[in-house]
C-alpha cells in the first residue's frame, strides 16, 4: 500500500543556535503544501517552542532533537522528540493520547507560555511521555475554501 504522505526526519544537536535552522527547514517544507504566510509563521513559532523545550529542558549534557515532518496533501504533522535516536514514526504516533491541559505542562517540564502558544497556533497538539523521553506531536491543516471541502466529500460517495 502506498503511503499518502512523505516523511522527512531531521536530527540536530539540542543547542539554541539550531532552533532557527529547524524552524526555517520546517517552514520551507510546509510552504510546498500551500499554507498561507500567517499559517507558516504560526508553524515557525510552534516548532521553535517545541524545540526550545528540548534544548532547555531535555538534557543535562549534550543531546539531540529529532524533528519528523509528515507532509500530506493539505496538512502537516510534526513530531519533535528528545529521544537521543531516531524513532519509528508510525509506532510513536500510535502511542500518543489526547492532550490534557493539567498534566501536559508537567510532562513538558516548564511548558508554560511555550506550550500554550503551540496549542493556540496549531490545530492539534498531543504529547507522548515515556521512559525514553517526551515527544510533541502537532498537526496543522491548510485553510481551504469551503467549496473544496464539499467537492472532496462528494467524491467519497
Amino acid at each position: 500500500m502506498t503511503k499518502n504522505f512523505d516523511y522527512i526526519e531531521m536530527k540536530f544537536p539540542a543547542k539554541p543556535q539550531y532552533v532557527s535552522v529547524i524552524r526555517l527547514s520546517v517552514s520551507s517544507l510546509a510552504s510546498r503544501l500551500g499554507f498561507s504566510y500567517d499559517e507558516i509563521e504560526d508553524l515557525k513559532i510552534a516548532v521553535s517552542e517545541a524545540v526550545t523545550n528540548v534544548v532547555h529542558h531535555a538534557y543535562d549534557e549534550d543531546g539531540e532533537v529529532v524533528v519528523g515532518c509528515a507532509l500530506y496533501e493539505g496538512k502537516i504533522e510534526l513530531m519533535i522528540s528528545d529521544y537521543g535516536s531516531s524513532f519509528e514514526y508510525e509506532r510513536v504516533k500510535s502511542t500518543v493520547g489526547p492532550y490534557h491541559n493539567e498534566s501536559s505542562i508537567e510532562n513538558l517540564r516548564e511548558g508554560g507560555l511555550g506550550l500554550y502558544l503551540m496549542d493556540a497556533l496549531m490545530d492539534e497538539v498531543l504529547l507522548a511521555n515515556n521512559e525514553s523521553g517526551v515527544t510533541v506531536f502537532m498537526t496543522k491543516h491548510v485553510t481551504r475554501e469551503q467549496v473544496d471541502e464539499g467537492a472532496e466529500r462528494i467524491t467519497t460517495q
Partner: protein, 110 residues
C-alpha cells in the same frame, strides 16, 4: 540569525531599538542588554520592535522580566512598533492586557 540592540536617549525617553529575530539563541543577548539598563525612578522607556522579524515565548519572557523590573522601579515601559503578527502574539498570550503595547511607532509598509 543575529540580533542588535541599540539605545538612544531623546526627550527624557530611553529608546531601545531591537532588530532581528528573538528566539532561544538570541534571547540571552537581549536579556543581558536589558539587564544592564540602570532604570531610574519614573523613567520612560520605549522598546521599539518595528525591526523585529520573529519572536516566540523566549523573547516574550525577556520582555516580561524587564517589564516587571521596570515596574518595581516605578518606570514606565512601552513596547512600540509592533507588527500585526507580533501584536497578535501578545494578544494570544494575554500580555497585551498587562503591558503597554503599541503598533504606531513606525508607518506599516503593507
Amino acid at each position: 540569525m543575529e540580533i542588535t540592540i541599540n539605545f538612544k536617549e531623546e526627550k527624557e525617553i530611553l529608546h531601545v531599538l531591537v532588530k532581528g529575530e528573538i528566539d532561544a539563541y538570541t534571547a540571552p543577548k537581549l536579556r543581558d542588554k536589558l539587564d544592564a539598563i540602570e532604570i531610574e525612578e519614573k523613567a520612560n522607556i520605549a522598546i521599539d520592535l518595528s525591526e523585529v522579524t520573529y519572536i516566540d515565548s523566549t523573547g516574550l519572557g525577556v520582555f516580561v522580566a524587564f517589564y516587571k523590573r521596570a515596574t518595581r522601579e516605578t518606570a514606565h515601559v512601552r513596547l512600540v512598533g509592533l507588527s500585526e503578527r507580533i501584536k497578535r502574539l501578545f494578544e494570544i498570550t494575554g500580555l497585551s492586557d498587562l503591558m503597554d503595547i503599541d503598533t504606531d511607532k513606525k508607518v506599516e509598509l503593507s
